[in-house]
């Protein structure tokens, strides 16, 4: 598996898109720090971008890489290599290079600005950790879509829909259900609903770690009680790990039963 990972990773590192993605974050980091002149504020702005952009890039990159490397995959399938190693290796190559672009692209400007002397270091690391998780989750989900759909157009469509659903539609449905059922106690429901969408989960997690949860009113208090504690943090991270592991498991399961 490590060899496949190595080849996929190098293949991506050599491609122009990895650089574009890395430079984008690098420039974004510098610009935000320059404009805000404050690490904490830059983290909040960054969060809004990362929460939406990282899943989108993970989805699109994942699905494109899978379809583009079809020939490579077929070549490997005839070699003495375990099937799950081929797919997991490719997946980790994509997710790894995207995560690296993200962490280095944002890390460099913040470190240069004096992150280590600032007290926002914990918030910033949390931002990077959730960003990495979102990359892993959405790349894995897109690989799952790709392996189940031979038709590229269909696969691409489903992947974009998935992102749209998680990033936009889910919130809409969530909000609507809150309005419709406003007569009932909704604390547990909203907590659970947040858990079932990795994007919402990451957003809430970061928002509540930053000290702006007072703006969120009563619901904020309930959320703060949950997410603000160490226990809440651990449960949320576990949930993110689950969100990562499940699609990876399905990818490996599905790959063993697929015809090529």
């Amino acid at each position: 598996m490590l060899k496949i990972l190595k080849y996929s990773f190098y293949d991506l590192i050599r491609s122009r898109w990895s650089y574009v993605y890395f430079l984008f974050y690098l420039i974004l980091g510098f610009v935000l720090l320059f404009l805000n002149n404050d690490v904490s504020k830059a983290v909040i702005t960054l969060m809004n971008i990362i929460i939406v952009l990282v899943p989108l890039i993970g989805t699109i990159f994942g699905i494109m890489y899978y379809y583009n490397s079809k020939e490579f995959t077929e070549l490997l399938l005839a070699q003495p290599i375990k099937r799950s190693s081929i797919f997991l290796g490719q997946y980790l190559g994509v997710a790894g290079s995207l995560t690296m672009s993200l962490v280095l692209g944002l890390g460099i400007p913040f470190v240069l600005y004096g992150l280590f002397k600032s007290d926002a270091i914990f918030d910033f690391s949390l931002l990077l950790v959730t960003g990495a998780f979102l990359t892993m989750i959405f790349t894995a989900l897109s690989f799952n879509i790709a392996i189940s759909n031979e038709n590229k157009i269909k696969g691409f469509g489903y992947a974009v829909l998935l992102w749209l659903f998680m990033a936009v539609i889910y919130d809409g449905l969530f909000l609507m259900s809150l309005i419709i059922f406003k007569e009932y106690p909704l604390d547990t429901f909203s907590l659970a609903a947040t858990m079932f969408n990795p994007i919402d989960l990451s957003r809430t997690l970061i928002l509540l770690k930053l000290d702006i949860s007072a703006l969120l009113g009563y619901t904020g208090a309930v959320f703060k009680q949950f997410f603000g504690t160490d226990q809440g943090l651990i449960i949320s991270l576990l949930m993110l790990i689950l969100w990562t592991v499940f699609p990876i498991w399905r990818l490996s399961y599905k790959s063993k039963r697929q015809d090529f």
Partner: protein, 236 residues
């Protein structure tokens, strides 16, 4: 070497293999023939584990290949359509496959034989169909494996390369290897094959030497004999 029992495979509603039994016990060159869509490639891909059968067993040297991948160390495979990752150079591709297989290889001799030196630094996406097929052949022949599977090896080759290919195949046979070939070029089959395996409607319709096939169909020419099988079956 390979034992296949009651192999079934369908793609959606299209049943390709219907209880195929095949036993390849000794060394030599086996030509797998059959009309388009008779399941030749599906059979080969099943042996390679790329297609997973719905039913039936495939044994390689007595060991079931299901959920096994190590047996592929014994197989060299030349795919029908030479699809390679386009952004790699020929040299890089060869190095990568060597790295993945970790076996002694003799690619230099083959590269020289097919005069591929000028293309080593070119990207695979820029190569012509015939040149790609030569690279394909180099990759399939550079390792020393007891089983060699060639799916349409003659596609796109010029006459000189075709002669080299035939020599290579005969050499491998002399080295005691088992070789499975599919081809639609009957002249090529008549020249190289020892045994004909004829697939029809998902089953083995005939297995035997070329002479036996001629006697059975009362023809003097392999091409006509093969065509005769198909027509007699249609009439029956």
């Amino acid at each position: 070497m390979i034992q296949i029992e009651n192999l079934h495979k369908k793609f959606g509603k299209n049943e390709v293999l219907l209880g195929l039994d095949l036993n390849i016990e000794k060394d030599g060159i086996f030509a797998v023939l059959g009309p388009n869509g008779s399941g030749k490639t599906t059979l080969i891909k099943s042996i390679l584990g790329m297609v997973i059968p719905n039913q039936g067993t495939i044994l390689m040297d007595g060991i079931a290949i299901k959920k096994n991948w190590k047996y592929r160390q014994q197989i060299d495979y030349l795919p029908q359509i030479a699809n390679f990752p386009g952004n790699l150079k020929v040299k890089e591709l060869i190095r990568m496959i060597k790295d993945l297989r970790q076996m002694p290889s003799e690619e230099e001799r083959l590269i020289a034989l097919f005069k591929l030196e000028p293309f080593l630094d070119k990207k695979l996406s820029t190569l012509s169909g015939g040149t790609k097929q030569k690279v394909n052949i180099v990759l399939a022949f550079m390792f020393d494996c007891p089983l060699l599977i060639l799916d349409e090896p003659t596609t796109g080759l010029d006459p000189a390369s075709l002669i080299h290919l035939k020599e290579l195949i005969q050499n491998e046979k002399k080295n005691g290897k088992t070789i499975l070939i599919t081809s639609h070029i009957m002249q090529f089959v008549a020249e190289v094959a020892d045994t004909i395996v004829y697939l029809l409607e998902g089953k083995i319709y005939f297995k035997g030497s070329i002479d036996e096939l001629m006697t059975k169909t009362q023809q003097t020419n392999l091409e006509h004999a093969i065509a005769a099988i198909a027509t007699t079956h249609d009439n029956a």
